[in-house]
C-alpha cells in the first residue's frame, strides 16, 4: 500500500466507525422517541378522560367553574391540561368562555402559561401566548409587545398580535395595525382572526387609511379584509379607491370588495378597462347589483376576448332578477359572436335552462 492509500484506508475506517455508531444512536433515539410518543399519547388520553366532565360542567355553569371539585393536578398533567383547555376554549365564546377563564384561574393556568412563555420550544411558547390572549393577561403586555410582536418568526409574531388585541383591543390596535399592514408574511387566516377579534369599530379607520395611502400590494392585501370593516365605510372606501387609484390590481380588489353599486359610479367605464381581471370583477359586480340599464354592458362583455370575462358576464346575466328563461333564450339567440352564444349556452345549462 502507498501512503495515499493508507491515508484513504484510515479515513474509510474512521468514517465507517462513525457512521456505524451514528446509526446505532439513531436507532436508540428512534426507540426512545417511540416510547416517548406512546407515553405522551397515553398521558394525553388520560388527562382528557379525567378532565372531560370538569370542562363540560364549567362550560355550562359559572358556579361549577368556580366551585366544582377538581381532580388532583400532578406536575406532568399541566402541559396536557393547558393544551386541552386551549382546545376547548377555541370552540366557545361568550359566557362559556368566561366560565373557562374562571376555571383556568383555579387551575393556575395563567401562571403556568407565563412560565412557558419564556421557554425555548416554539410549540410551548405559542400555546402560552394563546392562553394569555384568551385570559386577557395584561401582566405580559410589555413582553408580548416588545419582544414578540416584531419577532421574525411568523407564528410567534402573529399569535402575539392576536393576544394583544384580545388583552386590550383599544390599546392593542394602535400597536398591532402597523404590523398587520407591514407584515406580508402573516397568513391571511391569522390577519383575519386578528381583525375580527378587534372588531369593525376599531379596524375600519386604519384599514381604510392603509388602502388609500399604501402601495398597491398593501392596498390589495387590506381590501381582502374589507368585509370585516364597517359596511357603510367600505362603500365610501371603494368609491375613493376607484376614483383616485389607477393600478389595475387595486381596482380589481376594490370591485371585489364592493357590495353596492351606489359606491361605484365608474362601473360601466371599468367594464371596458384594458386589464381583463378588472373587467372580470366589473362583470361579477354587475351580476350582484346590476339593473336593467347594465344589461347592455354585460352583453358587451359577453363577447370579450378573455374567457373568464365572458364566463362571469354570462353568469351575471343569468342571475339578474329580471331575466326570465325566455328573455335569456332571446338574448342568447341574438348573439352574433359565436363565443358569446356558447358562453350563454353554458351559463344557462349550469342553472338547468339549456
Amino acid at each position: 500500500m502507498q501512503p495515499g492509500s493508507d491515508l484513504l484506508a484510515t479515513i474509510a475506517l474512521w468514517v465507517t466507525v462513525v457512521a456505524g455508531i451514528t446509526t446505532l444512536l439513531l436507532f436508540a433515539g428512534t426507540m426512545l422517541l417511540r416510547y416517548a410518543t406512546n407515553r405522551h399519547e397515553r398521558r394525553r388520553r388520560s388527562v382528557i378522560g379525567t378532565w372531560r366532565s370538569t370542562f363540560a360542567a364549567a362550560l355550562l355553569s359559572a358556579a361549577a367553574a368556580r366551585d366544582c371539585e377538581l381532580p388532583r393536578i400532578a406536575r406532568w398533567v399541566r402541559p396536557y391540561l393547558l393544551e386541552e383547555w386551549n382546545r376547548v376554549r377555541s370552540l366557545v365564546d361568550g359566557e362559556s368562555a368566561a366560565n373557562l377563564a374562571a376555571l383556568a384561574e383555579r387551575l393556575g393556568l395563567e401562571d403556568y402559561a407565563r412560565q412557558r412563555l419564556h421557554r425555548h420550544q416554539l410549540h410551548a411558547r405559542l400555546l402560552a401566548i394563546q392562553t394569555l390572549g384568551y385570559l386577557g393577561c395584561s401582566a405580559e403586555w410589555d413582553y408580548l409587545h416588545d419582544e414578540l410582536l416584531g419577532h421574525a418568526n411568523t407564528a410567534l409574531s402573529a399569535t402575539a398580535a392576536l393576544a394583544l388585541i384580545q388583552i386590550d383591543p383599544g390599546r392593542g390596535i394602535a400597536e398591532v395595525m402597523p404590523e398587520v399592514i407591514q407584515r406580508a408574511d402573516w397568513p391571511r387566516a391569522a390577519v383575519h382572526r386578528i381583525l375580527r377579534a378587534a372588531g369593525p369599530a376599531l379596524i375600519t379607520q386604519p384599514l381604510c387609511h392603509a388602502v388609500v395611502t399604501g402601495d398597491a400590494g398593501t392596498a390589495v392585501r387590506m381590501l381582502r379584509f374589507a368585509e370585516l370593516a364597517q359596511t357603510e365605510r367600505i362603500d365610501q372606501l371603494v368609491e375613493i379607491v376607484l376614483r383616485e387609484r389607477e393600478e389595475p390590481v387595486v381596482l380589481a380588489a376594490a370591485l371585489r370588495a364592493s357590495r353596492n353599486q351606489a359606491g361605484v359610479p365608474r362601473l360601466a367605464q371599468l367594464a371596458g378597462h384594458a386589464d381583463w381581471y378588472v373587467r372580470v370583477q366589473a362583470a361579477k359586480l354587475l351580476g350582484r347589483v346590476g339593473g336593467d340599464r347594465d344589461l347592455a354592458v354585460l352583453e358587451q362583455l359577453l363577447a370579450d376576448g378573455e374567457w373568464w370575462v365572458r364566463y362571469r358576464a354570462a353568469q351575471s346575466i343569468v342571475q339578474l332578477p329580471f331575466m326570465g328563461p325566455n328573455s335569456l333564450r332571446r338574448l342568447k339567440e341574438r348573439q352574433r359572436d359565436r363565443y358569446a352564444a356558447d358562453m350563454m349556452q353554458q351559463a344557462m345549462a349550469e342553472v338547468g335552462l339549456a
Binding site: 502507498q2 495515499g4 428512534t30 411568523t154 353554458q346
Partner: protein, 467 residues
C-alpha cells in the same frame, strides 16, 4: 498498470463519496429543522384555519385511462375530500374499456355545452359531461394522447379555480389532503406549486377509497420502497424546499397556481418524467422572467400510492425515472449555473446531475473497481472489504435517519414492530437491492443517452389497493 489506475482514481471516488454523503447529510439537517418547525406550527395553523374559510378554491384534475375496475371508488373518494370549495375534473383519456360508461351511469353524467378553452394544446376533446348528482363533478372525454401529461393539460383547460391539484385517479388521498397542501399558498402568495408526501399504500387497508388502517407491506420489494419514499420525501424534498430548490413535485399529488401552470405551457406531453420536467421548467421560466416565486413542499402524508411488487414492474419504473431525470435536466440545461438562478442553479441542478443522474455510473464503477482490485491483489482484501463496508454503512445511516425523521414527525406506523421492521429493511436493502437499482438506473441513463423512446408498460396492481 491496474494498481496505477487505481491510485489515480481513488481520490476521484473519495471526493465523489464525500460530496454525495455531505450533500445528503446536509439535506437531512435542513429537513430535521424544517420538519420540527412544521410540526410545531401545525396546531396553530389548524386552529387558525378551522373557522376562517379563507382557503382558495381548488380544481382537482384526475386523468384516467382504462381504469374501469377502480374508477367509481376513486371518484367517490375524491368527492368526499374535506375542503370547503373544490371541483373535480376527471379526464377520460380515450379509454378503450368502459371507464366512461361506468362513470356516466354511476354519476348520472350528461353532455354539457361547455365553452371549452384550448389554453394548452391537447388531443381533441370529444365532450364535456356534468354530473346531475354531484354539481362539482365534470368529466372531460378526449382522444387518447398517449401520456398522462396530455390528459392533465386537457383537465387544466377546463379548470375554473385559481389552484389546480393534479392527482392520479388510482392514488388514495387523505381526506384532509387539500387543506394541508394548500397551506403554503395561504402563507406565502409567491407560491406557485406545492407537493405533499407520497407514501406506499401496499399493506394498508382501504375502505371506500380512504385508508382505514396503516401497515407495512408483506412484499419485500414494497417494504424497501417504503424506506426509499421516506428518504426521498422526508429528507430529499424537505431538505430542498426551505432553500427554494425543490426540483420535483410528485405527479401523484401536486398543487399548482393555475395561471403559472398555463404560463409555462402546462405539462410536456413528450417528457418521460412530466412531473419533474414541469417543476424544473417552472424554475427556469420564473428565473428567466426575474419573478419572485416559491415552490414548496408539505411534509404531511397526503397521498398513498401503489408500489410495484415485482422486479419487472420495479425495473420498468426505475428505468423510466432515470430516463425522465436525464431528459428533464437536459431540456432545461440553461438553468445550470444561471447567474440569477440562486440555490436551484448552483446547488440543486448540479447535485441532481452529479449525484442522481451520473451517480449510478460512479457507484457501479466503485463496486467493480473495489472487487476487481481486491481480486487482483491491487489492494489488500481487508481494505476492499473496508471500502464496501463504508459504502454500506453510509447507506444504512441515510435510511436510518429517514426512519428517525418519520418518528420525529408523523409516526404513521403505529406498531413498534413496524419500526423495527423498517430498520431491518434499511439494513437489508443494501445487500442486493441497492446494487440492482443502480443497474436499472444505468439502463435508464443509457436509454436516455441513446435517445430511445420509452415504451409505456402496464403495471400489475398490488392486491392491497383493492377494497
Amino acid at each position: 498498470m491496474g494498481r496505477a489506475i487505481l491510485e489515480d482514481t481513488q481520490w476521484l471516488f473519495l471526493i465523489y463519496f464525500i460530496g454525495i454523503n455531505v450533500g445528503y447529510l446536509s439535506l437531512n439537517l435542513i429537513a430535521t429543522f424544517s420538519l420540527r418547525r412544521h410540526v410545531h406550527t401545525a396546531d396553530q395553523y389548524e386552529s387558525e384555519m378551522a373557522y376562517s374559510n379563507l382557503e382558495l378554491p381548488i380544481s382537482v384534475v384526475a386523468p384516467a385511462f382504462n381504469e374501469s375496475l377502480s374508477i367509481i371508488s376513486s371518484v367517490k373518494a375524491l368527492l368526499q375530500l374535506e375542503y370547503p370549495e373544490y371541483e373535480l375534473i376527471i379526464v377520460n383519456d380515450g379509454s378503450t374499456d368502459d371507464t366512461l360508461e361506468k362513470m356516466v351511469h354511476e354519476f348520472r353524467l350528461r353532455l354539457f355545452p361547455e365553452a371549452y378553452r384550448d389554453l394548452i394544446e391537447t388531443q381533441p376533446v370529444r365532450g364535456v359531461y356534468r354530473s346531475s348528482r354531484y354539481p362539482n363533478l365534470r368529466v372531460i372525454d378526449k382522444e387518447n394522447g398517449g401520456c398522462k401529461a396530455d390528459a392533465v393539460n386537457a383537465g387544466v383547460n377546463a379548470c375554473r379555480y385559481p389552484l389546480v391539484c393534479v392527482v392520479d385517479a388510482d392514488s388514495i388521498l387523505q381526506a384532509d389532503s387539500l387543506r394541508r397542501v394548500v397551506r403554503p399558498f395561504l402563507e406565502d402568495p409567491r407560491t406557485i406549486a406545492t407537493g405533499g408526501t407520497v407514501r406506499i399504500a401496499n399493506g394498508c387497508t382501504v375502505r371506500r377509497g380512504f385508508l382505514e388502517k396503516i401497515g407495512l407491506p408483506k412484499n419485500f420489494l414494497a417494504r424497501v420502497q417504503v424506506i426509499e419514499y421516506l428518504r426521498a420525501f422526508l429528507f430529499g424534498r424537505m431538505g430542498w424546499s426551505p432553500i427554494n430548490a425543490l426540483l420535483i413535485v410528485s405527479g401523484a399529488f401536486g398543487v399548482f397556481r393555475k395561471d403559472a401552470l398555463i404560463e409555462v405551457g402546462g405539462f410536456d406531453p413528450n417528457a418521460i418524467g412530466e412531473d419533474m420536467e414541469l417543476i424544473v421548467r417552472m424554475h427556469r421560466y420564473m428565473i428567466a422572467q426575474r419573478r419572485d416565486y416559491r415552490i414548496a413542499f408539505v411534509p404531511d402524508p397526503v397521498c398513498w400510492t401503489d408500489a410495484p411488487e415485482s422486479l419487472r414492474d420495479l425495473k420498468s419504473q426505475r428505468v423510466r425515472w432515470q430516463h425522465g431525470l436525464g431528459q428533464a435536466l437536459f431540456l432545461n440545461r440553461s438553468l445550470m449555473f444561471h447567474p440569477r438562478g440562486g440555490t436551484v442553479s448552483w446547488l440543486a441542478v448540479p447535485f441532481y446531475l452529479l449525484f442522481e443522474l451520473l451517480g449510478p455510473i460512479l457507484e457501479a464503477l466503485g463496486y467493480v473497481v473495489i472487487i476487481v482490485a481486491g481480486i487482483m491483489g491491487w489492494i489488500a482484501p481487508d481494505t476492499a472489504l473496508l471500502f464496501l463496508a463504508l459504502a454500506l454503512t453510509l447507506g444504512i445511516l441515510l435510511s436510518s435517519s429517514a426512519v428517525m425523521l418519520e418518528e420525529l414527525s408523523f409516526h404513521m406506523y403505529p406498531r413498534t414492530r413496524d419500526v423495527l421492521l423498517l430498520y431491518a429493511v434499511a439494513i437489508l436493502e443494501n445487500f442486493g437491492y441497492r446494487q440492482l437499482t443502480v443497474w436499472w438506473r444505468l439502463q435508464g441513463l443509457v436509454r436516455w443517452l441513446s435517445g430511445r423512446k420509452h415504451k409505456w408498460e402496464t403495471l400489475t396492481r398490488s392486491q392491497s389497493l383493492t377494497e
